[in-house]
């Protein structure tokens, strides 16, 4: 059975259809990438799945349970976590405290939450930063903190919104390693990503969005050969020079 099943979700902003009848399924531990040019509706799709936007149509089913239009915190509680494209650390508190907020999702005990947070920081190589304020951290660390917080909520699946954007290649490489490790631990990942190298090396399946619609879907090798896809996305990206 699929872990996440998105059925024909649609989202309109006034006259603009940001996402049109999008469907996708993700199995346990799978890594799926959602790609497409700017404005294709990737982040909108994320926001619907994670409960930040109300869908104008369609259903989201997670673990056999319909989660369409539940609140974000309820969805997180059911084991579907997310990160934000523009990272949103709690700047005024320490890295450890940031991760503890996530760890409190399934406990009220401060000791358990702290142990859990420390464990997550350790597994993601952030333990040395534990007592630093989140505010002053470099972007690469903040991106990793964003993932660490989501992992601390004990999810079965994480929505990663451009977790590697703005990173240097070596830093991106570290995050790729993190994501792989999560997937090996049985956490499914749906990622939105612009860096094709990342997508190609991580994703088992790619879904290409354009103007809110799926135009191609399949294994990475197939998708990059798809003509429509090259025109819509890769062609443009190549012209821009990334």
């Amino acid at each position: 059975m699929a872990l996440l099943e998105v059925q024909n979700i649609t989202k309109r902003f006034g006259g603009l259809v940001a996402v049109r009848e999008l469907s996708l399924t993700i199995n346990q531990g799978q890594i799926v990438a959602l790609i497409g040019p700017n404005g294709a509706g990737k982040t909108t799709a994320f926001n619907i799945i994670a409960g930040y936007y109300k869908a104008d149509g369609g259903k989201v089913i997670f673990n056999g349970r319909e989660i369409t239009n539940l609140r974000p915190d309820q969805i997180c509680g059911l084991g579907l976590a997310r990160t934000f494209q523009v990272v949103r650390p709690f700047g005024g508190i320490s890295v450890l405290d940031n991760v503890m907020v996530g760890a409190y999702a399934h406990t009220s005990d401060a000791k358990i939450a702290k142990a859990k947070a420390e464990e997550v920081l350790e597994s993601l190589g952030l333990q040395r930063m534990a007592n630093q304020m989140a505010k002053g951290l470099p972007i690469a660390i903040r991106k990793r903190l964003e993932i660490a917080r989501a992992v601390a909520t004990d999810p079965q699946m994480i929505l990663l919104d451009e977790a590697m954007a703005g990173l240097r290649p070596t830093e991106a490489e570290e995050v790729i390693g993190m994501v792989r490790k999560l997937s090996e631990n049985g956490i499914a990942i749906l990622l939105v990503e612009h860096v094709m190298k990342v997508v190609m090396s991580l994703a088992e399946r790619i879904i290409v969005l354009h103007h809110g619609e799926t135009i191609a879907e399949g294994e990475p090798a197939e998708v990059v050969k798809n003509k429509q896809c090259i025109e819509a996305y890769l062609g443009e990206a190549n012209n821009v020079g990334s």
């Binding site: 997180c76 005024g92 917080r149």
Partner: protein, 351 residues
């Protein structure tokens, strides 16, 4: 002191005690709070003048009220500007129960807290229902204050514009009427100790972490499983309940309440906001440090300048507040924290 704190492994009971009291910043703030409480508790031994005693009592009460506001606006970040509403409601509840229904003030004060909490709950419901946040939330509470003042001015049952007095009778513990100041001080100190402990427990618990997460970034908090509506409501409820209790005691102490005195934004600044802001909003120590500085200065300014042109004292007080915000954006507690880190961090490195 520095070296004593750092030697965790040393067996000396003194250093172990120091470590327990000052081992981390949170505990240090708690310890300093209790040292300040202790100093206030022994102050009647040195302070004979009822005037100065009165300032200490109000500084103590302002600390408690500051804590109640700090939990809402400092921890959960909701700009509850017109927090004094809850003080007024607690005060009115206490005095109406006493004068009209002969309910002992000890009970009345607690019921004042309950009434204020109910009001807080209604405010939270309305603001959440209509998605009022930050400045809109602040404006809503100010509008409510003005509306309530008008209502109470016209409401004869609670004395209208004249307000209500406590009929001074023979001193009586049951009626919370005392001939001297110290008993009031010890009641205020009891409230303050409760406030310090409640604030500390919240800060160290899941609830406190969730409050702060909401303050820092509400959407991100929700993504991590924080039911933001519920926790914002809880923060307002707790802050309102404590403020209601504080208002009840305030009225018993000054023996008088009227709508313009407490449904009043100017008084709100002095009683509620100045302390935590001077002391450091969001810190554990801020409300107390701030109140202990704010109350005497407000009193001094009023005492020395009130005879001249009216309003001069308010201008001077305003300049003082503005200066303290500019010079110490994180308040006195922020200053103390830096000092603490300077004393403490090098010793950690040695380990």
């Amino acid at each position: 002191m520095n070296t004593q704190i750092s030697t965790k492994s040393s067996r000396s009971p003194v250093s172990r005690l120091l470590h327990t009291l000052f081992g981390n910043w949170d505990r240090t703030q708690l310890s300093i709070s209790f040292i300040l409480v202790g100093l206030m508790a022994i102050s009647p031994l040195f302070v004979r003048s009822p005037y100065y005693m009165g300032i200490i009592i109000l500084a103590c009460l302002y600390s408690f009220i500051g804590i109640s506001w700090n939990i809402v606006s400092g921890f959960s970040g909701q700009l509850l500007i017109a927090h004094i509403i809850f003080l007024a409601l607690g005060g009115y509840t206490t005095i109406v129960l006493l004068n009209t229904f002969r309910v002992m003030p000890w009970v009345g004060i607690l019921l004042g807290g309950v009434v204020a909490a109910l009001a807080g709950w209604v405010i939270a419901l309305i603001t959440l229902r209509y998605g009022l946040k930050m400045d809109y939330f602040a404006l809503f509470t100010i509008a409510l204050l003005v509306a309530l003042r008008t209502l109470f001015l016209k409401w004869d049952f609670v004395g209208g514009a004249v307000g209500m007095y406590i009929r001074l009778a023979e001193p009586s513990v049951a009626k919370m009427i005392f001939a001297t100041k110290p008993p009031y001080l010890y009641i205020a100190l009891t409230l303050l100790v409760a406030g310090i402990l409640i604030q500390y427990q919240i800060y160290r618990s899941k609830m406190g972490k969730y409050f702060i997460a909401i303050r820092e970034d509400e959407a991100a908090a929700a993504a991590l499983g924080v039911n933001t509506s519920r926790y914002k409501t809880i923060a307002v409820l707790i802050g309102a309940a404590l403020a209601g209790v504080g208002g009840g005691f305030y009225v018993m102490y000054v023996t008088f309440i009227d709508p313009t005195g407490l449904f009043n934004l100017g008084i709100n600044v002095e009683m509620v906001m100045a302390g935590p802001i001077i002391g450091g909003l969001g810190s554990l120590l801020g409300p107390i440090l701030g109140a202990l500085v704010n109350k005497p200065i407000a009193e001094l300014v009023r005492g020395t300048l009130a005879e001249g042109r009216s309003g001069i004292s308010l201008i001077v007080y305003g300049v003082f507040l503005i200066t303290s915000i500019i010079v110490l954006p994180r308040g006195l507690a922020g200053l103390f924290h830096n000092l603490y880190l300077r004393l403490y961090r090098p010793s950690q490195d040695i380990e």
